[in-house]
């Protein structure tokens, strides 16, 4: 099988995130299973335009805005006729492959999450309103005529709101940390937050909740793991009982997460929320805001979702932490997610059963 994957970034991109890890893990396994895989992504400073990585070919062109046009051009020049299936991996902006793949190859879209509220956290106000209320609905409505794969129920529901009818949920993957022995829990009630210190993860909400909870749980301490543009400001606020670790190695991160009694997550929205799965694998339950994505991962991992407000988070911490301190939680190896081997298999099955020959090439064949 000859597979082309379109994604705006590859794992070598400095801003690569969860979606890129997902792509890399899956593509590597598809290659090992004997498929011929090509990934098209935006160019990265210092990396060649064509490169082999883990057995698949990476082609890079364009920047974050022009990568969509470049993908189409590359298709016109070199791509047409050399693939059996094209996967349009959508991060806010779709490649809309089903509108221009015209050689009879089948297409399917893969969506990790919709952007929606996140626009207001990542773009200046005017652009955010334009993006959220004009651009994204238009893009997703156009994508809706293609078959779509979504990584969570929440993403499927969001796509349905934009008119997508043919959406299949595919599993999220996870590699359990290879720690043989987990560190013992802290003596003081301890909460850990792990994520980039950026606006849409709402680290200020965690700080406020912990400050509120402090009145009733005087010993409460909070560990903030992760770097990001807000880190300096958060540090300068010097809240009581809060320690900032910045960016740390995986081993340190896992150690801290395993020693805490609860993990908290307060994002505006996530595709799945792998950090929740990770905490569960380390024997630490999560208290998360009830928002798309976090809802899926937290409930799958046996955690608790709360109304998205610092007051609510504080109430739940005060009520649950004393009980959780005396209770031990068995680590859940996959915490509601699945092994990458299984994800690669099931994603390929879903691609094979869901991908369709788009209307443009059907018209061509008929003509």
């Amino acid at each position: 099988m000859r597979i082309l994957v379109l994604n705006w970034r590859d794992l070598a991109h400095p801003a690569a995130g969860g979606a890129e890890v997902y792509t890399e893990q899956v593509l590597r396994r598809w290659v090992a299973a004997g498929h011929q895989v090509t990934l098209f992504a935006a160019s990265v400073a210092g990396r060649p335009a064509v490169e082999m990585a883990d057995g698949y070919r990476v082609i890079r062109a364009g920047n974050r805005f022009t990568v969509y046009r470049e993908a189409r051009r590359w298709w016109e020049r070199c791509g047409r006729g050399s693939f059996d299936v094209v996967i349009d991996e959508t991060n806010t902006v779709p490649f809309l492959a089903h509108e221009w793949v015209d050689d009879g190859a089948r297409t399917v879209a893969l969506v990790h999450q919709t952007c929606e509220e996140i626009w207001h956290h990542n773009a200046p106000p005017l652009v955010a309103h334009l993006g959220r209320h004009a651009l994204e609905p238009r893009w997703l409505h156009r994508l809706a005529s293609s078959p779509v794969l979504a990584v969570s129920e929440s993403t499927r529901d969001a796509l349905a709101r934009f008119g997508a009818r043919d959406v299949t949920v595919v599993p999220e993957g996870f590699e359990p940390p290879s720690q043989s022995r987990l560190s013992p829990k802290e003596d003081r009630p301890t909460v850990v937050f792990c994520g980039r210190m950026v606006s849409y993860k709402r680290p200020w909400d965690v700080l406020r909740a912990v400050q509120n909870a402090h009145r009733e749980l005087p010993g409460l301490q909070l560990w903030m793991i992760g770097g990001g543009p807000l880190l300096g400001k958060l540090r300068r606020a010097r809240p009581d009982g809060v320690e900032f670790f910045g960016r740390v190695s995986e081993a340190v991160k896992h150690d801290l997460m395993a020693r805490a009694h609860a993990h908290v997550s307060t994002s505006v929205r996530e595709g799945w929320g792998l950090v929740v799965t990770e905490a569960a694998a380390l024997g630490t339950p999560t208290i998360a805001y009830d928002v798309p994505g976090l809802r899926d991962s937290t409930l799958a991992a046996g955690g608790v979702v709360v109304p998205p407000s610092p007051d609510a988070l504080a109430r739940w911490m005060v009520d649950l932490l004393p009980a959780w301190q005396s209770q031990s939680f068995e680590p859940l190896p996959y915490g509601g997610a699945h092994s990458w081997d299984e994800v690669a298999d099931r994603l390929l099955d879903a691609v094979l059963t869901q991908a369709r020959v788009p209307a443009v090439s059907v018209g061509l064949v008929a003509a």
Binding site: R295, V305, D319, L320
Partner: protein, 280 residues
């Protein structure tokens, strides 16, 4: 003391997982969850089966679903929860402690606060915060099993104001206490048009409720709204939004009452009225 939570649902997929998840993570050990669905076509039943001890099908309306839930549950206490509510983890423990400490108390009020998206949801949050502690608005939700069975459960002839009706009948025969843990009520995104249509639908039962209860006028006055002017003055913008929201609701109720008076028999009017409200 075993606490049974009865949750009537109908296409409640949006909020049900958070609701049932909060019941499953109660600190009290003996908790039973009974979901009584009424022909949902979304993920409601699947979510129910994941979290609840029993998922039943019953109809035709909320009161009947709740009574059926009471009958099928086994706890010493029955608590009626809506599918858009999220319970703080200590609610069941609080209820058990309060009932054990005061054997004379037959039912308990659980205070509510609301949350949701957008400006109107914040207005509603302000409104609900004014009602906390006002017996004219708050209805008991937790009942000792003997009491709810003696009362004959919810009045299945009422589809709106059934909670006031039950509250009145409870207060006539038993002491009503309260707990300190809160219920968080998910208002979602409030839309004026939908609010108007809903109130117009409820308005059709008001005449019937009034004819059953002589002192019911106090229920509609909502004096709590003006009894704490300080809270309103502190939030002038939210207050303005709240005025608009309440005006819309009042208009909907009045039109609903008019619908019920102009159309008789009441049964045949229901289809027409709901169609009207969508047009409105």
């Amino acid at each position: 003391m075993k606490i049974s939570f009865v949750v009537p649902t109908r296409n409640s997929g949006r909020t049900l997982a958070a609701c049932l998840g909060s019941l499953r993570s109660q600190t009290h050990a003996e908790v039973e969850i009974v979901v009584v669905d009424n022909g949902s076509t979304d993920a409601t039943v699947a979510i129910g089966e994941r979290f609840a001890d029993q998922v039943l099908q019953w109809g035709p309306e909320r009161s009947a679903q709740r009574n059926h839930g009471t009958k099928c549950s086994t706890g010493d206490v029955v608590v009626f929860i809506d599918s858009d509510m999220v319970m703080e983890p200590t609610i069941a423990a609080d209820i058990a402690r309060t009932f054990e400490a005061s054997p004379a108390t037959g039912a308990l009020v659980i205070p509510e606060r609301s949350f949701g998206d957008g400006f109107l949801a914040h207005c509603r949050e302000l409104e609900k915060s004014l009602y906390v502690g006002d017996p004219a608005v708050e209805s008991p939700r937790a009942f000792r099993r003997e009491l709810i069975e003696d009362l004959g459960g919810w009045d299945e002839n009422l589809t709106a104001a059934e909670d006031w009706d039950l509250a009145d009948r409870t207060r006539a025969v038993a002491t009503v206490g309260r707990v300190t843990s809160y219920i968080w009520h998910d208002e979602g995104r409030i839309k004026l048009r939908a609010t108007f249509a809903k109130k117009r639908y409820y308005g059709r039962w008001i005449d019937q409720y009034v004819s059953m209860h002589a002192d019911s006028n106090t229920k509609f006055a909502r004096t709590a709204l003006v009894r704490k002017p300080g809270a309103l003055l502190r939030h002038p913008v939210l207050t303005a939004g709240l005025v608009a929201l309440k005006a819309t609701e009042a208009a909907g109720l009045l039109l609903g009452v008019r619908d019920s008076r102009s159309a008789s028999p009441a049964g045949s009017s229901s289809a027409g009225a709901s169609r009207d409200s969508r047009v409105a």
